[in-house]
Amino acid sequence: MDELEQFRQETRAWLEANCPASMRVPMKTEDEVCWGGRHFEFSSDDQRLWLQRMGEKGWTVPDWPVQYGGGGLDRKRVKILHEEMRNLGCRSPLSSLGILLLAPAMLKYASEEQKLEHLPKIARGEIRWCQGYSEPGSGSDLASLSTSAVDMGDHYLVNGAKIWTSYGDKADWIFCLVRTDPDAPKHEGISFLLFDMESEGVSTAPIRLISGASPFCQTFFDNVKVPKANLVGELNKGWTIAKHLLQHERSSAASLGATAPGSRKQSLQEMAVDAIGMKDGKLDDPIFRQKLARFHVREQAFTLTMQRVGDEMKAGADPGPASSLLKYYGSETNKERRELMIAAGGLDALGWEGEEFEEGRLARSWLRSKANSIEGGTSEIQLNIIAKRVLGLPQAD
């Protein structure tokens, strides 16, 4: 038996023995997502156990090096692990902005000490992170940000306000863009700081969204002391790190638009067939059928493009130009999918509360999807980037 097949069998056996039965059924609501962190309230003992076991094995981040809390697996083994988890229906043990956004930037730019300090806690779900980028006056024009960090000798003193900080009220630590040189050109006076949200002077105020949820906050910093050891990379060179992180954010946002292989969720097509019915082998609404088919063409073309870009990267191509394309198209595709789900479901899909509407699951997800083309850089900004960086079109002065 070859090594990979052996790994597959061992993995399957381990998952069967260690993944609790209740962690092998699809989640019903967003509330069942495991985010980890100091104050996380597990929805069940099984959820806690599942995170703990996977964390000990390093399989919350199977591709990370072992010394940082990862599983140290190569690409083929990571793929096998994910396939086996999918086959058994295992839930993801941990969702985390630390894993998704911060870690790729840390792996590239942080000191060894910083990596050893922070990455294992991210891997085990002990510390939950939030992203302090946007400010009330600085959204698309992020580099104009004004939250300041002043060098006080042994620490930085941080003052200012962030906004749209996802899960700011639930997070333990923040990775934050701050201005450290107010006189330099805007991209050259920014630094990348890490600090504890329990530090004195940090406060948050939740913001309620159109979906009814309050997943993000305004975040205020009032004379917050941050140890100097918490600066990542060089002083005033934070913009490079910020951009690297955004590229990862964009690529992961893009995957929203693709069809997930082996997904167990009810597909748009099944939903449409259920809700609209079939006549002579065709959906019994010719105009909806046409819209659905065109959506599927775009969704499949996009999914294949994700695959092609991935294959090209494996062959050594630079992912840079593709990330804006994928972010733009993926988020617009997901918005279209959600619109079609509402159209297919009719008023059933617009129910808001009550068990008969699964507490408004479809309507709330539809509303949430509208943010896809805003968060992580708006669609217009992605098109600007393509025009400038990929097509080389001249810029107005």
Binding site: Q269, A272, V273, M278, D280, G281, K282, L283, R289, Q290, L292, A293, R294, H296, V297, R298, Q300, A301, F302, L304, T305, Q307, R308, D311, E312, K314, A315, A322, L325, Y328, Y329, E380, Q382, L383, N384, I386, A387, K388, V390, L391, G392, L393, P394, Q395, A396
Partner: protein, 390 residues
């Protein structure tokens, strides 16, 4: 299978692009048009292409081919599309050779394919009988007559029909004619219309064959083929040709989509150059965000089109069960994309875009003809939905 070209395919791509750039630039198509060339392409050029193996990309070596695949043919067609190069690659190779390879007896393949690969024999497939692609609506009839068959009917818009030495004709040996299939819904693969179809080899010189060239907007080659008791030699099994016809259409569509993609890329690059040189209001027009965003959107649609074209070609070469789905996917995506790119190329050139002297108009004209050939985006969107089960 990885969605990237391998090293040999990359080499083929650059040599094909260089070849068409040097030997068949857009000025070559203009010359064919302006001299009303009776052939509609250069036979010298075709001999050179055949010498490089391009007439036999997917043909096995035993039939004089180079034993590669449709992916390689697509790579060459994409390069040809860039300069709007006219050649028998589509009619003779993508259509004709596909049909003979799929349906022919060993003897028929032996007789025809090496001559095709050598660039000596030209083929085509005569499918359509009206202005639209409705492959199941066939009124042309074939009646058994001793050893062979007698064919009667009228075929429209046969690509390269005026120069093909042998025409593969779709005719009805049994089953419902156009009346019944017309009422049983469009294009239903299993409708009465598809049963009873057969393929025949018809010699262009045979008695009862009348061929008339049709002049089209794209200055490329189409002909009307009338059959009046013409002799046809059966290719494949009588009455059971539909699966072959369906597959030939898929393969030719994937190749056509590659050509369309190449044309779109060239028209797009030309337009980007214009945005970087034309000034208005004291600024390069490429600095206007209204144009930048539309340019970026075209870029995205072209990137998506690259993926579906490669997938459709690879699916053919892998004999994948979803090859038909991938072919229709490619035709819809690429047609939608090309409509956008060819329209915007004109618009972004302003008045210059409307002149015969500027090339973007030639790309627009070729775009619409290619979209219509073997089914436009509406036709394939319907088929795509059907293949997905709704």
């Amino acid at each position: 299978m990885a969605l990237v070209l391998n090293e040999e395919q990359h080499l083929l791509k650059s040599s094909a692009e260089a070849f068409f750039r040097e030997r068949a630039p857009v000025t070559a198509l203009r010359a064919l048009r302006d001299t009303a060339d009776p052939t509609g392409f250069s036979r010298d050029l075709w001999r050179e292409m055949a010498a490089m193996g391009w007439a036999g990309t997917f043909l096995p070596e035993e039939y004089g081919g180079i034993g590669c695949g449709y992916t390689e043919l697509g790579v060459v067609m994409q390069a040809a599309g860039r300069t709007l190069a006219a050649s028998p690659l589509f009619a003779t190779v993508a259509l004709g050779a596909s049909a003979v390879l799929l349906a022919g007896s060993a003897e028929q393949k032996e007789r025809l394919l090496p001559a095709v690969a050598a660039g000596e024999t030209l083929l085509t497939v005569a499918l359509q009988e009206g202005p639209h692609h409705r492959p199941e609506r066939v009124a042309t009839s074939a009646v058994a007559n001793g050893e062979g068959y007698m064919l009667s009917g009228a075929k429209t818009y046969v690509p390269d029909g005026h120069v093909a030495d042998v025409i593969v004709v779709v005719a009805r040996t049994a089953g419902a004619g156009d009346e019944e299939s017309a009422t049983s819904g469009e294009g239903a693969g299993d409708s009465a219309g598809t049963a009873g179809l057969s393929l025949f080899l018809v010699d262009r010189e045979a008695a009862g064959v009348m061929i008339e060239r049709r002049s089209m907007a794209d200055s490329r080659n189409m002909a009307e083929v009338r059959l009046d008791g013409a002799t046809g030699e059966l290719l494949g099994t009588a009455g059971e040709a539909w699966p072959v016809i369906d597959t030939v259409i898929d393969r030719a569509n994937a190749v056509l989509a590659a050509e369309m993609l190449g044309s779109a890329q060239a028209a797009f690059e030309r337009t980007m150059e214009y945005l970087k040189t034309r000034e208005q209001f004291g600024a390069l027009i490429g600095t206007f965000q209204a144009l930048q965003h539309r340019a970026a959107q075209m870029f995205c649609e072209i990137e998506l089109s690259k993926s579906v074209v490669l997938k459709a070609l690879e699916a053919i070469d892998a004999d994948a069960p979803d090859a038909a789905l991938c072919a229709s996917l490619a035709k819809v995506q690429v047609s939608d994309m090309l409509r956008l790119v060819s329209d915007e190329a004109i618009q972004m050139h302003g008045g210059i875009g409307m002149t015969d002297e500027e090339d973007v108009g030639l790309y627009l004209k070729r775009a619409r003809v290619a979209q219509q050939m073997l089914g436009d985006e509406n036709c394939h969107l319907d088929r795509y939905a059907r293949l997905r089960g709704y």
